[in-house]
């Protein structure tokens, strides 16, 4: 394989890398060129999406270090689209002083996500994880004027690097047992080997790092602070792009690499393997995330705890396993990511106008800006799983797959728990909506600034939010459009 071939097949990543450097250069040349920077970034992302589309749908590079399959193409597009929306929404964030550097970090993180999605090899997975994480640590701590941003960055970094260490250690065990780093080869190796305790240690440690990335309890402790303290676009990207890619790679690892050690999480019929571990993580996340979210008064913190709960729901599909389970997980996490980018976009605009993102800052939003209020209602109700929004269909799909998986409804306990969780979650989403729609009087001290929210805000951000809300409604009404693609792309 020549380098030209490599460059051609890895052109989306290359485009993003070049764009990142260009944006960095523009930022250096002029400190105030935020408009040009974000234009260049969006252009690069759009070009990369185009490149993914026109590339061949099936290729293997460097013995599986990089692969192109319909699945990787689809999720590269999704990650790029999420980055695209994040860049658009980031324009409203006044706090970022060095827009070039910020956007370059975001683009580098995007490359990490694309590598994560587009590989079937343990080493590349780790490199992708690290590239994403390091960029995201910087993005989290980017707001130098805000002490909470620094705190969030430090917490995220400390927890994250520990989790990465665990994963690397776990991967080394896996490599030691199987003698290979390719996921498919590992799967074949384990299918013939007898189970050894050391293997379970390896699997467990690998899962720790990935559970950290998807913010599943009890590895979620960084999430509330990172979501609340980080600049809003960073939080949006952590909650969306990073999560989607992590679920893709988690699914690949457990369903391809660890397929022979699936185990069973069915009630009364637990069999050792990774699925009971994931089931336990899911159950804990659902309970803890929803219960703690009940008492939050800051919208970003509330979204963080609800993200923990949603990670729990999403894990259900992987616990169920198989092609159906994976596609349900992928559908849910994709929809969730678009929803959360939108929700953070609303938070960003509200924060810019009112100076905060507590519940009180949202009061009577519907009278100040019906569009923002309507979009937020769509996003939150989709998260709560109400029809006709995408979250409703995602939950239906996930739960039906989970119930079908075990013999004689073995996973009913987990499904019932998840339903209990979504019942609880409706309460706190409704509280936010109540503040937005029902409360009449805005807070007196914030009212002078409120006038801007009605008209003066940025047109582009509003359009982006409307598009995201439309996407959420569209995937709820026509879920086939996405599910058919996901199912077709799964082997």
């Amino acid at each position: 394989m020549s380098y030209l071939d490599l460059l051609k097949l890895a052109s989306p990543e290359a485009i993003i890398a070049v764009t990142a450097l260009a944006v960095l250069g523009i930022g250096l040349a002029s400190m105030r060129a935020s408009g040009i920077c974000s234009f260049a970034a969006t252009l690069g992302l759009a070009l990369a999406i185009g490149a993914v589309i026109i590339l061949p749908q099936q290729a293997t590079l460097l013995h599986g270090m990089l692969v192109i399959t319909p699945l990787t193409s689809l999720f590269k597009i999704i990650c790029l689209a999420l980055a695209f929306f994040t860049v658009l929404l980031a324009r409203s964030d006044r706090s970022s002083r060095n827009p070039g550097e910020y956007l370059a970090m975001l683009l580098l993180a995007t490359i990490g996500l694309m590598l994560l999605v587009g590989t079937e090899e343990l080493l590349m997975i780790f490199i992708g994880l690290e590239l994403t994480s390091l960029s995201l640590y910087i993005m989290t701590a980017f707001d130098k004027t805000d002490v909470r941003s620094a705190e969030a960055g430090l917490k995220y970094f400390l927890f994250g690097s520990t989790a990465s260490a665990f994963t690397l250690f776990g991967l080394s065990f896996i490599y030691g047992m199987s003698g290979t780093t390719g996921l498919t080869a590992i799967g074949q190796k384990f299918a013939t080997q007898s189970m050894q305790p050391l293997l379970f240690v390896g699997i467990l440690m690998t899962l720790v790092g990935l559970a950290f990335k998807v913010a599943a309890a009890p590895f979620h402790l960084w999430a509330p602070d990172a979501y609340q303290g980080a600049p809003v676009p960073s939080a949006a990207f952590i909650a969306s792009g990073s999560k989607v890619a992590s679920f893709v790679v988690l699914g690949k690892i457990v369903l391809v690499g660890f397929a022979p050690v699936h185990g069973s999480a069915a009630w009364h019929a637990m069999i050792a393997g990774w699925s009971p571990v994931l089931a336990a993580l899911a159950a804990l996340s659902i309970l803890l995330g929803n219960l703690v979210a009940l008492v939050q008064t800051n919208v970003r913190r509330l979204l963080a705890y609800s993200a923990v709960a949603h990670a729990g729901y999403t894990l259900l599909g992987l616990v169920a396993g198989g092609r159906d389970g994976f596609s349900a997980t992928l559908f849910y996490t994709t929809v969730y990511a678009f929803t959360l980018v939108g929700a953070f976009g609303v938070v960003a605009l509200v924060r810019r106008e009112t100076g905060g993102d507590d519940l009180t800052n949202f009061s009577a939003l519907s009278s100040r800006s019906p569009l923002l209020a309507g979009c937020m209602a769509v996003f939150l109700l989709s998260l709560a799983g109400l029809p006709p929004l995408a979250g409703f269909f995602g939950k239906f799909y996930l739960f039906s797959v989970a119930l079908r998986a075990g013999a004689s409804h073995g996973l009913l306990w987990l499904v019932a728990l998840a339903l209990l969780g979504s019942f609880i979650s409706l309460y706190y989403y409704l509280i936010v909506l109540k503040v937005i729609f029902v409360d009449e009087k805005p807070q007196p001290e914030t009212s002078p600034a409120l006038g801007n929210l009605g008209e003066g805000g940025d047109f582009l951000q509003r359009l982006t939010l409307a598009v995201l809300a439309a996407v959420v409604v569209f995937f709820g009404v026509m879920p086939t459009m996405l599910i058919a693609r996901i199912i077709a792309s799964l082997p």
């Binding site: 029809p387 269909f393 119930l403 009913l412 339903l419 409704l430 029902v438 879920p479 086939t480 058919a484």
Partner: protein, 512 residues
């Protein structure tokens, strides 16, 4: 053609979002009227023979990978429910003619409730039915929390959480049925033989989940608080349509899919239903707030519906369906009088305060409507309530003779609290207070110990208020007449609907 009720209603809702507020109520009226006309034409145009089975009208693949179809079907039961939806929807728009606060949003949410209800009554796909069923939840919350009155945020949240809790139970039942039978099509599922083990737990989960919305005792407590907190149109929709969603879906889904489970559990349903009838009537007797009286009466009347289901014979179940129709009209009318005609003018619903006003003279039309509604509610022959309840009781006599006796006492209690509410609200003795001033403070001090000034203002009101009350508007008169006409028509000629309901009930599986 009946499918257009759904499309028109949602189209109207979307239109409301973009049109200026002066048109809002007219758009809402036109939309709901179109829905009513469509459902009425559909009910009387389709021949009675065709209404005996659940016939497909639209069937389009929606999510083929999961076997989900956009599938609508009708039979006599669903068309009856569509008709009552149309009637109550038009009336509720007419009774919210005076909404000035964010009218576009108000009618938007209202139309979502109506459209979702049409959807539930016409769905023949389990997923679609559940989608419409859940779609109704959030609009109810906003209707109550924004435009409601007493304790509105509490009432709205309680109602929403109860509904969603029921929805979660239903979700479990639906998924269990789906993954077992591999289909979501109600027509196919109605042929599928589920194992006895699944039926024994699947039925109670599904039925109780749906029955939460129907106000089954002891999960009924959302109903009185929700009804009281809701704006007039909100309580009309709640009592008139939304509670029927639960009972309809319980019949269409839970009972029809899991007939053996139903046979296992039906005695318990009968027990809960009878307790609900008597208990709610007893509680209503002690209420001082007029809307609470009506709210509990709704629970009591819905108890009859569940009782009718539990009889598991054609007469009982048909009577239950007729009772759903009948109570939809009566409940809506009672709330319309209490909420719009009385409360909007007097700003009180306290029976003691109302009894001092002599509203019977001040608002003769309201008094007339309330008398008609009370008579229908008590089950006076000639009104739909009588036709429905007598059918249920005849059916029940074969199944549970003892329960019929207990229900009889419930009916006496219903008559008692209805008459009490009627007398106190409209035919109180004004002269006693206006003349004998000494009587008012002593009575008032006991009841309103927190507000010592109240007795005097009360006495003043009793003299001045009757003249200050605005006249009953044309819109109110139209709405009330519509409901009264419908309840009288069905009461005098119940065959009109029973002929269409009974064949459809006979076709259901749990009877065989």
């Amino acid at each position: 053609m009946i499918a257009w009720t759904i499309y028109i209603t949602f189209a109207g809702a979307v239109l409301l979002l973009i049109m200026p507020r002066v048109f809002s109520r007219w758009i809402a009226l036109a939309t709901t009227a179109a829905g009513l006309v469509t459902s009425a034409i559909a009910l009387f145009q389709i021949s009675i023979v065709d209404l005996a089975t659940f016939n497909t009208i639209v069937r389009v693949p929606w999510v083929p990978m999961l076997g989900i179809n956009y599938h609508l079907a009708v039979d006599g039961i669903s068309l009856t429910m569509a008709l009552v939806t149309g009637l109550v929807a038009v009336a509720s728009v007419l009774f919210s003619w005076d909404v000035e606060h964010r009218p576009n949003e108000f009618f938007f949410w209202l139309l979502l409730v109506v459209g979702g209800s049409y959807g539930v009554f016409l769905s023949a796909d389990l997923f679609l039915l559940f989608l419409f069923y859940e779609l109704v939840i959030v609009p109810k919350y906003f209707l109550i929390a924004i435009w409601g009155s007493t304790n509105k945020e509490y009432g709205a949240m309680k109602l929403t959480l109860y509904s969603f809790f029921g929805g979660a139970l239903v979700f479990v039942g639906i998924i269990a049925a789906y993954v077992t039978a591999g289909s979501l099509d109600l027509q196919q599922l109605a042929q599928f033989q589920f194992t006895a083990q699944l039926q024994s737990w699947g039925f109670p989960v599904l039925f109780i989940g749906f029955a939460v919305l129907a106000g089954i005792w002891p999960l009924h407590t959302w109903a009185p608080t929700g009804h009281v907190a809701a704006p007039t149109a909100g309580s009309m929709l709640l009592a008139g349509i939304v509670m029927k969603l639960g009972s309809y879906a319980g019949l269409r889904v839970a009972m029809n899919l899991f007939p053996e489970g139903f046979q296992m559990w039906r005695v318990w349903i009968a027990v809960l239903a009878v307790i609900g009838i008597v208990y709610a009537a007893g509680v209503a007797l002690r209420q001082r707030d007029l809307k609470f009286v009506i709210g509990y009466s709704s629970v009591s009347h819905m108890g009859f519906v569940l009782f009718g289901f539990a009889t598991a014979n054609v007469l009982g179940v048909s009577g239950a369906v007729l009772q759903m129709f009948s109570h939809g009209l009566i409940g809506a009318l009672l709330f319309a009088v209490a909420g719009r005609m009385v409360y909007r003018r007097t700003h009180t619903r306290d029976l003691d305060a109302l009894s001092d006003m002599g509203l019977g003279r001040g608002l003769p039309f309201a008094a007339f409507s309330f008398v008609i509604a009370s008579a229908a509610s008590m089950g006076i022959p000639g009104f739909s309530g009588f036709a429905a309840e007598i059918t249920i009781l005849i059916g029940a006599w074969k199944a549970y003779p003892l329960a019929v006796w207990i229900t009889g006492t419930g009916m006496v209690l219903v008559a008692a609290f209805t008459l009490r509410a009627l007398k106190q609200s409209f035919f109180g003795e004004v002269s006693a207070i206006a003349l004998g001033g000494s009587a008012a403070p002593s009575g008032g001090a006991k009841q309103f110990s927190t507000s010592p000034t109240f007795p005097t203002s009360n006495a003043e009101r009793s003299i001045h208020l009757p003249e200050n009350l605005g006249p009953i508007t044309i819109a109110e008169k139209c709405g009330a007449c519509l409901l009264m006409f419908a309840t009288l028509a069905v009461g005098l000629y119940p065959k009109l609907l029973l002929d269409r309901i009974m064949p459809a009930v006979e076709a259901m599986r749990f009877l065989k």
